[in-house]
């Protein structure tokens, strides 16, 4: 759930609660109003009856009749008395005089009974309206300035025979009765009030929780010291902002621990804060800074900016910056690795791993430097992901391609070199080069797992084609790895017949220091009948010492030397010739690698090198492509 969604949910809940509270208020108001309306309709019925009765009891002009018939007036007043209840506080009949003032004709009030013709100011223009229009009306009195004890007034016109209003019958409903009605509804009203209080309290609680949530979130999302984002923030940021819109720089301040020890952590923190402020000033707008760990920071730089320029400027500025502390001036250096993020990349993990590797490389060179990892494709990242590799090995999506090694003179296939490939789970027709995954799994249990699967593949090929020989690559770590060698030995014991047709090519990426140990391992492999080849001779660590100290069955001349046969023919031919002669001297077969075109092949042939291998002669393919071309 993202922060933006959370905010939406919080506001939705709050809006619902407020809406519910308002609905409750509306319902209770409506219910009270309908109760009031019921009472008003009762008052209208009374007014109708009283009006009819008065008219029936009087003759001619109402005012004249009542003025002259005092006893009748008294009798009618008493009758009006009888209508008075807790509900109807005052009942009286008013007549408008020539001046427009209202005067009492009848008054049935129990207290402060008014005399006939006494003046009355109703303080409401609605009296005049009713008088003029002849339509009964309810007038709200409660809360009106200059009115008390009266809740509502029913103004009922008493019409003469001609239909014009002759007098106004007023029934005042008491305020006490309004309170009574209110109390009648009070259990519901109280429940509603309690619910509203509960809703209000819940609302406050939600607001408090929301506040706490955002405060807590801020602590998680923002580094308190440097105010940069945290990894959690980065994860959330990348959910809505594709990583491939940025290039990434990893910055690690060198030797910051020493500075902390020298000036104390408090001063160290101050310097770190200033350092990040300087960094922020230096990076382009819309860049993001994340504190990954300790004094390591990740900077996302928009792709619109030139990464190399930004990195260089950042490196120089931060290196030149002087930090004042305790009257001393301190300068800091940093190691920075940067990378062009490939299109489609969404997760920072793989990028960070590559940046970390580059960072280690910089640090091993002596720190205080920067480097950019060359552009990579998204697949490069995916195939070098440990999860991907583990899954491929668990699914046994490992296969071998076989590159033929030819007898140079006759162009007959003499043997094959097995080359490992992973099969892509998304596209099984796609084979993944070991360039992606080998560096990641070297030295891990996954590597041994892979080697087992490679050997399985090789033995399957040996079993299927009983006349072929196959060579597989091993490096020193494999030779020195007890588990790996146990696996190889077990496999060789299990498939004794195949061991003789197997060659182990020792690759040159590590220097052999313990020749005795290496010789013992070679002997063990030879004891099973297998051959040992020195791969890439003439490059890396595969040098002449190896020829002197160890016994080899095959020498494979490195491709870089073979390429020179066409570029620098005279000098290269001498070198290649001498290696070939050495091979013959040491009773070794010699293989020329990287024979990539006809010209090179002809040169190799002319130099009488026994075996040749290269794309010109045969690319790595499934073994069936060479041995069962029809299948």
């Amino acid at each position: 759930m993202t922060s933006r969604n959370n905010t939406k949910y919080f506001f939705a809940i709050m809006a619902l609660m407020i809406g519910f509270a308002l609905y409750l208020q509306y319902s209770i108001t409506k219910s009270t109003e309908s109760l009031h309306a019921l009472e008003v309709s009762k008052a209208v019925q009374y007014a109708n009856r009283i009006s009819t009765y008065i008219k029936a009891e009087t003759e001619g002009d109402l005012e004249s009749y009542l003025r002259t018939h005092t006893q009748k007036r008294e009798a009618l007043n008493k009758i009006l008395h009888t209508f008075l209840t807790d509900e109807f506080k005052y009942i009286y009949l008013l007549k408008k005089d020539k001046e427009g003032h209202y005067r009492f004709l009848l008054d049935g009030s129990l207290s402060d009974e008014e005399e006939f013709n006494a003046i009355f100011f109703p303080k409401s223009e609605q009296f005049d309206d009713v008088y003029r229009n002849g339509n009964a009306q309810i007038v709200q009195q409660e809360g009106k300035d200059g009115a008390k004890e009266v809740w509502l007034s029913l103004l009922y016109p008493v019409a003469n025979k001609q239909g014009s209003t002759e007098a106004l019958l007023v029934i005042d409903l008491s305020q006490n009765y309004a309170s009574y009605l209110k109390h009648l509804n009070s259990p519901v009203s109280q429940t509603v009030t309690l619910m509203q209080i509960f809703l209000f309290a819940s609302l406050i609680l939600i607001i408090y929780l929301t506040y706490s949530y955002y405060k807590f979130r801020k602590n998680i999302m923002q580094d308190a010291l440097t105010c940069t984002g945290t990894k959690a923030w980065l994860n959330e940021f990348l959910r809505t902002h594709p990583l491939d819109r940025y290039n990434v720089v990893l910055i690690d301040i060198d030797e910051f621990k020493r500075l902390n020890q020298r000036f104390g952590e408090e001063n160290g923190n101050k310097i770190l804060k200033t350092y990040i402020e300087t960094l922020r000033q230096q990076i382009p707008p819309h860049s993001k800074v994340v504190r990954t760990v300790g004094t390591e920071f990740m900077v996302l730089i928009p792709k619109s900016e030139d990464l190399e320029t930004v990195l260089k400027s950042l490196f120089e500025t931060l290196r030149a910056k002087e930090f004042k502390i305790e009257n001393e001036s301190v300068q800091l250096t940093a190691s920075m690795s940067a990378m062009y993020v490939p299109e489609g990349a969404r997760s920072e993990d793989k990028i960070l791993r590559l940046l970390d590797e580059k960072m280690l490389e910089i640090k091993s060179r002596g720190k205080n430097d920067y480097a950019i990892i060359g552009e990579k494709r998204l697949d490069d990242l995916r195939f070098s992901d440990m999860e991907f590799i583990k899954k491929a090995l668990d699914d046994e999506r490992v296969t071998c391609l076989f590159q033929p090694i030819f007898k140079t003179q006759t162009k007959e296939i003499a043997k094959f070199e097995a080359l490992v490939r992973f099969i892509d789970d998304e596209d099984p027709s796609k084979l993944i080069s070991p360039f992606h995954f080998l560096p990641v799994i070297k030295g891990t249990s996954q590597y041994i797992k892979m080697s087992k699967l490679v050997l399985q593949n090789v033995f399957a090929a040996l079993q299927k084609y009983p006349d072929i020989e196959i060579s597989v690559n091993l490096d020193l770590t494999d030779l020195y790895h007890r588990d790996m060698m146990t696996v190889i030995e077990n496999v060789l014991c299990e498939h004794k017949a195949f061991a003789k047709r197997l060659t182990f090519e020792i690759v040159e990426d590590m220097e052999i220091k313990d020749f005795e140990k290496a010789a013992n391992i070679f002997n063990m492999l030879r004891a099973h009948g297998s051959k040992i080849a020195l791969d890439d001779f003439g490059s890396g660590y595969a040098n002449y010492t190896y020829l002197i100290k160890l016994e080899w069955d095959i020498i494979k001349i490195d491709g870089t030397l073979i390429k020179e046969l066409t570029a620098n023919p005279k000098r290269a031919e001498m070198v290649v010739q001498s290696i070939n002669e050495l091979g013959i001297f040491y009773n070794c077969s010699v293989v020329a690698e990287f024979v990539s075109d006809e010209e090179t092949y002809n040169k190799v042939k002319a130099l009488c090198i026994e075996y040749s291998q290269g794309f010109y002669l045969g690319e790595p393919k499934p073994i069936e492509a060479y041995l069962d071309p029809e299948s």
Binding site: E99, D112, E114, F121, K123, A147, K148
Partner: protein, 150 residues
């Protein structure tokens, strides 16, 4: 809890003050219409009303009727008492008399107006011919509350 009680007390006090203030405003307005003076000396035997007048910037409540510009009379007994006390000072100018009961207007022709309650409504009534005798002209806003005679 103490704070809650304080708030309730303050609210009650505030409401009481509002009621007092509206009564005072009404009297200030009416009396200044009748007496065009900066400061008006008022006497009333009604203790409650007297206390209200003490908050006024314009009305000076007196404890004796003798020097008053106007006297607010609550009932007939009060009228009789005041009349007896004023009888002795014929040489002085007689104060205006204003009632808080409609019946005072009926009973005493020298009461020029009254502010009283009738059927739950405040009522203000002036008698024009009595005002005329004293040379008082009502402004428009009060004319609708006046009658020529009772």
């Amino acid at each position: 809890m103490k704070k809650i009680w304080m708030v309730i007390l303050l609210l009650w006090g505030h409401l009481y003050a509002m009621d007092t203030q509206s009564t005072l405003n009404l009297y200030e307005d009416i009396l200044s219409t009748l007496i065009p003076k900066e400061m008006i000396k008022v006497y009333t035997p009604n203790r409650e009303l007297h206390d209200v007048f003490t908050h006024s910037m314009r009305l000076i409540p007196l404890s004796q009727p003798n020097e008053a510009d106007i006297i607010i009379i609550p009932n007939k007994i009060a009228y009789e008492n005041i009349a007896a006390r004023l009888r002795d000072q014929k040489d002085l100018k007689m104060p205006y008399l204003f009632g808080t009961d409609y019946h005072l207007l009926e009973a005493y022709p020298n009461v020029i107006g009254a502010l009283y309650w009738r059927k739950g409504r405040s009522q203000l009534l002036f008698v024009r011919n009595r005002l005329k005798k004293l040379g008082i002209t009502l402004p428009d806003k009060y004319r609708k509350y006046s009658v020529e005679s009772l």
